[in-house]
């Protein structure tokens, strides 16, 4: 109970700090248990300091920075117990091109470390270009979905 949760916390926190500094190219980050000394009752706060900025809680960061930080947390948990399948639905929407590239670098790293198969739903041209293959979903007939294989080069037309 308490033991297992604390062990998991330690491992996830270590992964989280490592992934955060990778994604932000530096800085510092930590998970902190708050509101109770009992790990079964405590809440989870996220303290982070992007390079050159001040240490603050998650809520004071920009939208894109918050998203990148949460991706570090989600994958910190993932690394502690990799699943056979991982599906990400438009998680890159608030990211600029530079951060989308770093996010894709992290996905490549996860592919190297695990056997996990990834499905990445996206509108971002940068992300599409980093995939091993693409499927397009279309509604040629109104209200009826169809799946088609997409040539990576023709992808841009489909997203619009």
């Amino acid at each position: 109970g308490r033991e297992r949760l604390l062990t998991a916390f330690e491992q996830v926190n270590a992964n989280f700090t490592m992934l955060f500094t990778h994604l932000f190219g530096g800085g510092e980050a930590n998970l902190v248990m708050v509101e109770s000394d009992d790990p079964l009752e405590a809440g989870l706060e996220i303290m982070c300091q992007p390079p050159g900025k001040k240490l603050s809680v998650l809520s004071l960061m920009s939208g894109g920075e918050q998203t990148l930080t949460c991706l570090a947390l989600i994958f910190a948990v993932f690394m502690a117990n990799p699943s056979p399948i991982c599906v990400l639905d438009e998680v890159d929407a608030p990211l600029d091109d530079a951060n989308v590239t770093r996010f894709c670098d992290m996905l490549d790293e996860m592919c190297r470390r695990t056997e996990t198969r990834f499905l990445v739903i996206t509108h971002h041209a940068v992300t599409m270009a980093r995939m091993d293959r693409l499927f397009g979903v279309t509604m040629q007939e109104q209200g009826v979905s169809q799946l088609v294989s997409v040539d990576l080069k023709r992808a841009e037309k489909l997203v619009a």
Binding site: F9, T67, I85, V91, L134, E141, S145, Q146, A155, L158
Partner: protein, 168 residues
Amino acid sequence: MQFSRLRLTGFKSFVDPTDLMISTGLTGVVGPNGCGKSNLLEALRWVMGETRAKAMRGGGMEDVIFAGAASRPARNYAEVSLVIDNQDRVAPAGFNDSDTLEVTRRITRDVGSAYKVNSKDTRARDVQMLFADAATGATSPALVRQGQIAELINAKPQNRRKVLEDAA
């Protein structure tokens, strides 16, 4: 245990039988707003035993049945099947004597959901256990819904901790 194929029939906007092949590495899914991309993720969570209609964006479980479109009548059932490669034989006892496992869930209007594994009737709970033992399932933290990151950012610290519990 590796996932290899997801098949949808009458599930939300996928009225015609549709196969999504799940291969190694990174598979991208693209298309315009409203064309059905998120419905694919919902079908995967649904066949793994999702019980909360709210997590399917619906008011009730029957909301996943194709409700009709301009030139198509509504259906009265929805079915999703997931094919799993089990050559490494790590599936739980009772499911571990074949190379392939096909998990199927069908919901019929006014009747409810029924599960099968390799054509054998199976209880919902045993399907959920099968996936939980494989470090996945409908509530796996590795299945990130559209907008879920925004919820995590805005969540109170108490609710964020649930993410950690899934890792323990």
